[in-house]
Amino acid sequence: MNWRRLLRREGQEASLAKELSFHIEERVADVMRWGVSEEEARRRVRLEFGGAEQVKDDCRDARRARWVEVLSQDVRYAWRDLCRNPGFAAVAIATLALGIGGITAMFSAFDTILLRPLPYADADRLVMIWDDMSKSEGNPTFFSTPAEWTQWRRLNTVFTDIACSQPGNAILSGDGEPEEVRARKVTWNLWSVLSVQPAMGRVFTEDEDNNGARVAVISHGLWQRRFGGASDIVGRKISINDAPYEVAGVMPRGFYFMPSHDIDMWMPASFPPGLRNNFTWHEAQIVARIKAGVSLGHARESMAALSLQVTAKDFRGPHSATMIPLRQQMAGKTETALIVLLSASAALLLIACVNLANLLLSRGAVGGREVAVRAALGAGRGRLIA
């Protein structure tokens, strides 16, 4: 498309007018040669040639590039029309804005939870493992125990590694207002199982975990919010639950893990020896990475068998284990709800459009006269609708 030529409309218009008037003048001269007066000749030529404006319009149409002009005219017309009816404009804009806003909000939730990849490498091989307590507790996805984690880790053949996390609480004090942040106590290998790296600093080591070292990994959000994004945060001593802890590292922005998005701190699990043998302390969440080449089904069977073996001596009777792919686990029951909500907001947008169409229609009835005038002046069907 030659835009410069389009902008030289004036030149083109002049050229068109000149071309047609040349034709008419030549014709008039020829007709006068038959001995007719100039006035009469002009009259005849006008009849013969047709309306010069109509011819010009047809020529412009023939040049096709007219659509840009038509569009800009229509946009300007629509703008003037909206300015003339600010009330109508406000209602129309608000209706569309609500409809569009609703579906945008729903879609961003949908996108984050279901479409976007989880923030872990090779997330499809990550699974959560739960105690299948359907017999004793009526719950097939019951929390596990640190003791089971210890045994599973030792005996399994299908996972590269298994990590465990327990609820924790952390009250930050010292600098600034005391504040309770959501925390988890996690085994040192959580990071390697998830295959994530801290954005700054490091995560804690097996030794630190075993020795109950007071170190913490914090979220990007907490770092920004509480510590103002300080560049010397790594190694800083902070006070958690009135004990001095050292900030070991900061996780990247957008990192999150079960059970919720707003966990801000991870501390070593440091299970005391008693807990490592306690098969009834059901508080742990277990995540494991399946070895390459092992199928989900095989891992599931193997894990169930291992669980039965490990809990053979449990006084409540042995129980199996339930394995759920991490993605499914994190979407959880929200999946259906999200799809329903997304469809609902799509329907809402449709309703908004229908309402708007109704409004336009009722206004169209009022504007019938104007449409008639525009049609009479030569507006095409398409332009009248737009």
């Binding site: 071309e19 040349f22 030549e26 040639f49 047809d58 020529c59």
Partner: protein
């Protein structure tokens, strides 16, 4: 002007214009005149058909235009055939000849003898 005018079949005007222009650069009025003279007044193209057709052909790059002076010293827009215009003319007139012969054959059938 008593001679009967014929309506041109669809698409024929473009072909006639291309042929006329092929003889050498020419302005719109001269095209109209020549068409009328050569066809012995059968083909009369009103300005309302001629100029949109010229602009359409120019827009499709079958013709190109240039402002020049006529013999009488007036400025006129002269049209000239482009390479693709010539190709279009050749294929168009071949098609037209075939069609005309075919129509002639059909209309020339002896009546009643073909049973």
């Amino acid at each position: 002007m008593a001679s009967p005018k014929s309506d041109l079949p669809q698409g024929t005007l473009d072909l006639l214009i291309l042929k006329t222009v092929a003889l050498g650069p020419v302005h719109g009025y001269a095209i109209a005149q020549r068409l009328q003279q050569i066809s012995r007044d059968v083909v009369q193209v009103p300005g309302g058909s001629l100029y949109p057709a010229l602009h359409r052909l120019e827009n499709r790059k079958l013709l190109e235009a240039e402002w020049r002076q006529t013999e009488k010293g007036r400025d006129a827009k002269f049209y000239r055939l482009t390479r693709s215009g010539r190709a279009q003319l050749e294929s168009g007139s071949a098609g037209w000849q075939r069609l005309a012969e075919a129509v002639g054959l059909i209309l020339g059938m002896a009546e009643g003898g073909s049973r």
